[in-house]
């Protein structure tokens, strides 16, 4: 039953996209139904995934593996690319989040009224590649999904977006492609450096079961230069990249005698390349400028997906790839990563304070909140990393709600200027209620989702400052300013837009600002429930991720220190 659940998860949207592309225009009303129901089915898969997930087990579950293609290098062995899927606690949670947000995004996109066919087909392609990113265990496969996301996004923003959509879409494309090419560089170097000990064992003539027992043996032989290049089966699989003993000695990224550039070991450069590549996606200051443009121009449903899910792929990439493969980099650069995080928190918040466009304000608040994720990861404490993951999930609930709420206003008046409204609370009380909850949740009010993540991150930061010294005290202290600033821009906006006497810039808007529709309730209520639930019962998430996070922190610290000590011999 659970055997090919993950394949099913991303195959359903893909097939639905194909069906929509093939259906004639006359069946146009059915497009949205197909989209929504197929994503509903994906959500069911995601729930089944969480249901069957064993939160006490270390390692990847729902594992699937099929050989995809191999490339013979002659005397240098071969490179094998696999179709390899699996989830741990972190990715299972993110898959669930994506399924939910994508479904809500699909409901929200019912308001699209031009070229529905293209929109829904692209939206489903985007959904499939998002799922693919979170479940791929083969770097090559991940990269394919990661890159493939760009084209649907480019069209979705560029065709259905606002007035400056062309500029925004190409900016998004360029930034992300530049980042992903950095990732590609590292990926290729990794594949040339890492071997799959099981397959290598088979190549050397051991039977499959034997080879499995002899992984350690094979690794030992590799490190003693006893495996000739011809027998080496190189791999893109994450499972083997985490272990330094799978790196061929004297290859570009091996601990022993790897390449050096400008006096620094290639592994540290590779870590930096991955970090920057994913930080662009995250986005962290100073790579963030594509995000406000993309958000402002994107249609509401795409903003929802962008903020709710896409940004998390950046954070997920840092956890899984940058930290997972090069833990020594995480230790070596921890202060820089934390610094980037604090910078993002403060700079994002200050920008949000200054924005006149409500959507831009929300977009900058996303930058600020993603800064928390970086800070939490940099601490390398259980609290900090749990907080970072929690922040990813809670932000995945809050920011879609925020964008949907902005969408409510925009749909009615086609104007989002903060200063063009006053006293909305008197005319739209329910809307205002949702806004207040979302704003408070986002600014970290206790009892709501945003609080747990942020408090855990601060706990982690201070603990780290006093303990493993990954983050200095002054950074942790400085970061707390983010809470104040967050409250400031939200409260100020509330005061300006919602309280006081009712007034709008144009009198003809007044009748437009009416009640919420049923569809809007359908989108807001689940998100609101989620925000409340996450705020009151943090264990819902912490239980699922705790084993994975614990394992992640422990192995990153342990392996990172060990690697750093070895590298110190090779660094001047």
């Amino acid at each position: 039953m659970y055997q090919s659940l993950l394949t099913l998860l991303f195959l359903i949207p893909l097939l639905a996209a194909l069906i929509i592309a093939l259906l004639p225009q006359s069946l146009r009303p059915y497009y949205k139904i197909i989209t929504t129901s197929s994503l509903g089915f994906s959500l069911a898969c995601a729930i089944a995934l969480l249901w069957g997930f064993d939160s006490n087990a270390i390692g990847y579950q729902f594992y699937e593996k099929v050989q995809w293609f191999g490339l013979s290098l002659g005397s240098l062995g071969k490179v094998q690319v696999n179709y390899e899927l699996g989830v741990d606690g972190i990715s299972a949670m993110l898959v669930f989040l994506s399924a939910l947000i994508l479904l809500i995004g699909a409901v929200s996109s019912w308001e699209i009224d031009k070229q529905e066919k293209g929109f829904y087909a692209l939206y489903l392609l985007l959904s499939a590649s998002i799922f693919g990113c979170f479940i791929a265990l083969d770097f090559f496969l991940f990269y394919v999904f990661f890159e493939f996301m760009l084209l649907p996004m480019y069209f979705l923003i560029g065709l259905w977006g606002g007035p400056k959509r062309e500029y925004a879409s190409i900016k998004f494309f360029l930034y992300t492609l530049a980042g992903s090419l950095l990732i590609l560089l590292v990926m290729i170097a990794l594949s040339l450096s890492v071997i799959d000990p099981v397959a290598t064992g088979q190549e050397m003539g051991l039977s499959a079961t034997e080879a499995f027992e002899q992984i350690k043996n094979t690794q030992g032989q590799l490190q003693k230069y006893q495996i000739v290049a011809e027998n080496q089966v190189h791999t893109f699989s994450l499972l083997w990249m985490n272990d330094a003993t799978n790196f061929v000695p004297r290859s570009a990224l091996s601990m022993v005698g790897g390449l050096q550039f400008w006096g620094q070991h290639a592994r540290l450069w590779a870590f930096l390349a991955l970090l920057i590549g994913f930080a662009i996606k995250l986005p962290s200051v100073p790579f963030h400028t594509w995000l406000p443009d993309a958000h402002v121009e994107a249609p509401t449903s795409i903003s929802v997906v962008l903020a709710g899910v896409l940004l998390k792929i950046g954070a997920y990439g840092i956890i899984r790839f940058a930290y997972g493969i090069f833990p020594e980099g995480a230790l070596y650069y921890s202060e820089w990563i934390a610094g980037l995080g604090v910078l993002s928190i403060l700079y994002g918040a200050l920008n949000a304070l200054a924005m006149k466009d409500l959507k831009k304000m929300v977009a900058y608040s996303s930058v600020s909140h993603m800064g928390y994720v970086l800070l939490g990861l940099a601490t390398l404490t259980i609290e900090g990393v749990s907080g970072a993951v929690y922040q990813m999930i809670s932000h995945g609930f809050i920011s879609p709600l925020l964008f949907l709420l902005v969408g409510v206003l925009y749909l009615r008046t086609h104007n989002r200027s903060i200063e063009d409204y006053r006293g909305l609370a008197s005319r739209m009380p329910v809307f205002t209620f949702f806004v207040i909850v979302a704003f408070f949740a986002s600014s970290g009010l206790p009892g709501l989702a945003g609080f747990i993540g942020e408090i855990l991150i601060y706990l982690g930061a201070f603990k780290s400052a006093g303990g493993n010294a990954m983050v200095p005290y002054w950074m942790a202290l400085l970061a707390t300013l983010g809470l104040v600033l967050g409250a400031a821009y939200y409260l100020w906006t509330l005061q300006r837009m919602f309280f006081g006497a009712f007034w709008t810039r144009k009198p003809e808007w007044e009748p437009l600002l009416g009640k919420l529709s049923l569809r809007e309730y359908l989108m807001f209520v689940p998100l609101l429930m989620g925000i409340l639930l996450l705020g009151i019962f943090p264990s819902l998430i912490l239980d699922i991720i705790s084993t994975s996070v614990g394992h992640f922190v422990e192995s990153t610290l342990q392996v990172g220190e060990e690697n750093l000590r070895q590298l110190a011999k090779f660094i001047r």
């Binding site: 002659g74 394919v144 190409i170 494309f173 360029l174 090419l181 290729i188 390449l259």
Partner: protein, 499 residues
């Protein structure tokens, strides 16, 4: 006479390996004969050409690619590399004939003439000969053959502009031919033989001073770089491509480049082997090739940014792709050769798809990018085909272009790991940067297809059914090659090449 007889006896044996090329020769004569009739029978001409080319490919298929043996009286070699390039050259010619069937009014009446088909077949023949040659004499004759075909085909718009482009091509080409002939004569002077495979050649190179050898080799390689349109020999390409009909432009953008890949690999490898032995003044051929590749990437991509004509844009993009091909050669490894062949195959498919799809904007002979405005909305399927083609050209998954780029990058990484060569490192970084840069101009195509509006040519375009089918087939190959590259990779891995 006694010495001549055994030689004559060996001729049929020697020509056996060149049977496919013999068929082409017969085909050329047949096409010309048909053309002599009073009636113009374009359909018949095209059918004969297609059959001849299919026959050529069919004769090539059973040829063993695992062995290498001399053929054609020691002028050439039948090895996997030559075989692969012959197939690609034949496929390019076949595609050209197929897409000439539905040439639009604006492109002119070139496809009515027997000479046109004869020239396309001749280009294929010449390209195949270049691909298998290991003898500088055959190489020179075949390259000249190729060039003359190209000069003539450039003319087929029969306008003043195309005459001008052809003239530029001829003048530039003639000068380069003369220079490369001079280089060949120098090499002959040093070694006393023109056979790259012979022992005398290597010994001769070893016993002469390195500077003159370097000079001579530069001159010879210049001739090939001219055919490939690599920097600094790229100037002819944009002019020629923008003033020729679409099928010819696609042919000139692919066939000559692929044909010289083989001999370039062989020659550079030989020179590098020799220069390794020179202790006093070793010439770093890897650095030289890497620098040429780097410059080609930069020039092609930067110049493409400023184009408003679609075919000119594709010309500069093809120069940029040559940079990748050269980068693969500069790796000097078997992975490099594999990635070269893979990239070459991708390049043929994607280039033909792009040139073919440029007909969706075909309103006049100089196709402007803005003629594509809103085509994606008025003709959704053409928009999809364009998008897949652009993805392959940029190198985005899921298209063959992505796999090809990954292979070239892998080959570069592997060589960096083996040689610690700073220029390779620079080349890798530049090729990454060039990929980002290429996004600027490639994205202009979907931008006009979908984002711009309203449509300027409401009557729509006149892409024929057969063109759409061929385009669909090519795009299907681009996607299939990504999803199932296994067979292709195995085939390419089996390709062995002489020395």
């Amino acid at each position: 006479m006694e010495r001549l007889l055994p030689f004559l006896d060996s001729v049929p044996e020697a020509l056996k390996g060149l049977l496919p090329e013999m068929l082409l020769l017969g085909g050329i004569l047949l096409v010309l004969l048909i053309g002599m009739g009073k009636q113009i029978r374009p359909k018949l001409l095209a059918a004969v050409s297609v059959l001849v080319l299919l026959g050529y490919l069919a004769l090539l298929l059973p040829v063993s690619i695992d062995t290498t043996q001399a053929m054609g009286l020691g002028l050439g070699v039948a090895d996997g590399l030559g075989w692969f390039l012959r197939i690609l050259v034949g496929a390019a010619a076949l595609l050209t004939v197929l897409i000439s069937l539905s040439s639009t009014e604006q492109e002119g009446s070139y496809a009515q003439q027997a000479e046109y088909y004869a020239l396309v077949l001749a280009m294929c023949l010449a390209g195949a000969l270049v691909a298998v040659s290991t003898h500088l004499l055959l190489l020179f004759v075949a390259i000249e053959f190729l060039s003359i075909g190209g000069y003539l085909l450039t003319q087929f718009h029969f306008t003043a502009k195309s005459a001008e482009a052809s003239m530029k091509y001829i003048l530039f080409g003639a000068a380069v031919s003369a220079i490369s002939l001079f280089g060949i004569s120098l090499l002959y002077g040093f070694t006393g033989t023109l056979d790259l495979n012979s022992y005398d050649f290597i010994r001769g190179l070893l016993s002469s001073a390195s500077l003159p050898v370097l000079l001579a080799a530069f001159l010879v390689i210049g001739g090939m770089l001219f055919k490939m349109a690599a920097v600094p020999y790229h100037f002819w390409m944009p002019d020629v491509l923008s003033h020729t009909p679409v099928p010819i432009a696609a042919l000139l953008a692919t066939l000559p480049k692929l044909a010289v890949l083989g001999i370039l690999v062989r020659l550079v490898k030989r020179l590098d082997d020799v220069s390794l032995i020179f202790v006093d003044a070793a010439v770093d051929w890897q650095a030289i090739l890497a620098v040429i590749a780097l410059l080609t990437l930069l020039v092609g991509n930067l110049a493409a940014l400023y184009q408003t004509q679609l075919k000119r844009l594709l010309a500069y993009s093809s120069i940029a792709h040559v940079g990748f091909l050269l980068a693969a050669i500069a790796c000097f490894s078997s992975l490099g050769i594999q990635s070269l062949l893979f990239y070459g195959l991708m390049y043929v498919i994607a280039t033909y798809a792009a040139f073919l799809m440029s007909r969706s904007a075909d309103t006049h002979q100089l196709i402007l990018i803005k003629d594509l405005t809103a085509v994606g909305r008025t003709h959704p399927w053409q928009g999809v085909l364009w998008t897949i083609t652009v993805m392959a050209l940029i190198g985005l998954p899921p298209s063959l272009g992505f796999t090809a780029k990954v292979l070239v990058f892998s080959a570069l990484w592997e060589s960096i790991q083996n040689y610690y060569h700073p220029w390779l490192w620079a080349l890798l970084l530049v090729s990454i940067g060039a990929t980002v840069l290429s996004l600027f101009y490639y994205l202009r195509i979907p931008y006009y297809l979908y984002f711009k509006g309203p449509a300027i040519h409401l009557s729509g375009n006149k892409m024929s059914k057969i063109d759409i089918w061929i385009g669909t087939f090519l795009c299907f190959l681009l996607l299939l090659g990504f999803l199932m590259p296994n067979g292709l990779l195995e085939l390419i891995y089996r390709v062995k090449f002489a020395f």
